[in-house]
Amino acid sequence: MEEKHDMEVFLQGPGIARLALIKVPANGKVQDLIEIAKEKGLKPEVGQIPQVWVEDKDDPLTPDQPLKIAGIQSHGRVQVHTCPRIHVTVNFQSRSEDHPFSPAATIRTIKQWADKKYGLSEADASEYALQVCGTSDRPADDIQVGSLVQSGQCQVCFDLIAKQRVEG
């Protein structure tokens, strides 16, 4: 019977290794998500206060707010983070553009912003990907940018690179 009162939520945050699908009491509060995030690997430093954002939303939720009032429904997507904004830099060819994003902004959203900044048409845009600077990591489009920074750090850098044909 208890299952009936739980709902599944997609949870992301720094230190949480995978995009987590968690169960939380449907009558729970936003603070419950923060506690679960800590269990999953979120480690805020002293003085840092984790907050919860709904995916692609700019403002954090109030911790004591009930989940339903906060607008979090079954299979909702949230980010738990200590940075109010993530300073994102995207490099393309010889140019560099930056913008402060919500930690709950997805790679999909940042890619669309970068495509527009660099004047890529819709057709051309699908032939480019965001790659974390200095790595070969190309996060999937459902990854939220806050998940890509270390706890306490509030910035991340991407290169916008052309997708290569597989040959050889």
Partner: protein, 157 residues
Amino acid sequence: MPLDEQILRAHLADGPFQSGVDLKKWQLVSIDWPYVLISVSAAVRDGWPLAYGFRYECSDYPDTAVTAQPWDLERYAPLEPGKWPGGKNRIPKVFRPDWKAGQCLYLPCDRISIEGHADWHRLHPHLIWKPTSDITLYLNEIYDLLNSSDYTGPRSA
């Protein structure tokens, strides 16, 4: 139940795979170990399929990479070459019915295709399978191709 099947089933229930299901990127069809059938959504246009089926062979998962064969979900048989996805540039290089008799895709994350392609580790490091990888590495790449401007529908269209 063998350990590889236990881990694969856990990954199918986990966030990365379920997020793709929630976003309607892909859908689990069936498991008949070591085979797993998954349909992957494709760009929508009149006369084009809404999705393509793939039969994954997942033995020794996740220590060993998976391999995927385009699959006719209605006939429960390999997909006819004319029905494989077609495209302009990247897709014809990946979906090759002539490669290994159509048993796999020409991708660095494919168990069969990676053999003999040591240079792919340098050229496509983001697509190299690691024991920490999960099946969404492969699924995201297929989904990306089938929803790119490179995709032009089935080869016979």
